[in-house]
């Protein structure tokens, strides 16, 4: 529908919308995050939900402790190799549609602890990430920004057509391979179906 026409109509008290818009509007304002803190960034995540920053303004104050009831996983902190299988498993247990915010340098790439022998160098090696926020730790404002970016992403989704999101495509997986704890590290070291290896992306 033409945006100008819609604005014009609304001036006359006529509210026109599409089912898609209504649906996305509802979804984007009721994203329930998983109560899931990994490290220092989790404290900033808690601070974001508290009185001063008040994430509730965006419809996301309902933190659920069970992955079955959550839509959004905020990977807030360092993912170690020992923890990585659990993170992937939790992601797999969440129902579609589900989103991931990778909060902080650690969740993106290993951050300051990148050189550690037990540190996973970015959670996007195993699960698809929707929004990355850099920072160590990102400020609560940054988390809110990431959250709004996710809301924009949701409201721009089309329910039909080729560009429809993953959860509406029946043949795309909603669960991903859980890595195994091996003798020296994780096996496999990344899930090639998910991980966009920057080197390979650069080389086309």
């Amino acid at each position: 529908m033409d945006q100008d026409l819609k604005t014009e109509l609304s001036k006359h008290g006529i509210f026109a919308t599409t089912f898609e818009e209504l649906y996305n509007w509802g979804r984007k304002n009721s994203v329930w995050p998983l109560t899931f803190g990994l490290a220092c960034c989790a404290i900033e995540m808690i601070a974001t939900t508290m009185a001063r920053y008040d994430l509730a303004r965006f419809g996301a104050e309902v933190f659920r402790a069970s992955p079955r009831q959550a839509d959004l996983m905020i990977v807030s902190g360092t993912v170690t190799k020992k923890m990585a299988p659990q993170v992937v498993r939790l992601y797999n247990q969440m129902p579609e549609p589900k989103y991931v915010i990778s909060m902080g340098a650690c969740a993106i790439s290993g951050g300051p602890f990148r050189d550690g022998y037990n540190v996973l160098k970015g959670i996007d090696r195993y699960i698809p990430v929707d929004v990355h926020i850099p920072g160590c730790p990102p400020r609560p404002e940054a988390l809110i920004h990431a959250f709004m970016a996710l809301q924009d992403k949701i409201s721009a989704q089309h329910l039909t057509g080729e560009s429809r999101p993953r959860h509406l495509k029946r043949d795309l997986p909603s669960e991903f391979q859980v890595p195994e704890l091996g003798e020296h590290g994780l096996e496999p070291q990344q899930n090639d179906e998910v991980f966009r290896n920057p080197l390979k992306v650069l080389q086309g």
Partner: protein
């Protein structure tokens, strides 16, 4: 009590115990006592229960890895070169065998004194890595000795529950050792070097 007094008492009252003072050259001047491998437990009991010491609080337990070191020494020898006796310098290399070391920092809550630093060495870094556990004396050593077992590979005899603590069961390396190499291909920078055309 000074460290020297503690040392002589230990040797006197714990039969067969051999203790040695390790001098610390830093401004902190925290010297330590090196106890022989067989009498660690008895010496610890003695230190804890002695009424003048009452080292009832074992604060810090940790391990240190000392790999094999090569020491180069220059030695002057006399040798006959071209029929003339000359003084020749030669470098002689000796390998100092490596060992693993545990360090205990003891304090006394009753007397508000400390630290008394205990050390023990394993025989080598490979197959004889057993030491006596001091967990029966101080519970606070329980998790810290497990950590030393996990990350350094020191086996504590008499520990009630010696399992890996930080890494997972099934992990085979001891990552805090100096010669530990993390698995390759883990980092993209390394990937770039190893497969240039990928």
């Amino acid at each position: 009590m000074t460290l020297e007094e503690i040392r002589s008492r230990l040797e006197a009252f714990v039969p067969g115990c051999h203790a040695e003072i390790v001098v610390n050259g830093s401004p902190s001047a925290q010297n330590s006592l090196l106890i022989d491998r067989q009498h660690g437990l008895q010496a610890a009991m003695y230190l804890r229960d002695h009424p003048e010491l009452q080292l009832d609080f074992c604060s810090n337990v940790t391990a240190v890895d000392w790999p094999d070191r090569e020491k180069a020494e220059k030695i002057k020898t006399k040798r006959i070169v071209d029929g003339v006796e000359k003084e020749v310098e030669e470098t002689k290399k000796t390998t100092i065998p490596g060992y693993l070391e545990v360090v205990y920092h003891l304090f006394s809550i009753a007397k508000k004194e400390g630290p008394v630093v205990l050390r023990m060495h394993t025989a080598n870094r490979t197959d004889e890595v057993t030491l006596q556990s001091l967990t029966p004396v101080w519970r606070s050593a329980e998790f810290q000795e497990r950590e030393a077992f996990d990350l350094f590979g020191i086996v504590f005899e008499g520990h009630p529950d010696l399992r890996r603590i930080l890494m997972w069961e099934g992990f085979t390396d001891h990552p805090m050792r100096k010669d530990y190499v993390p698995p390759p291909d883990d980092d993209l920078e390394i990937l770039a070097v190893s497969e240039p055309g990928a």
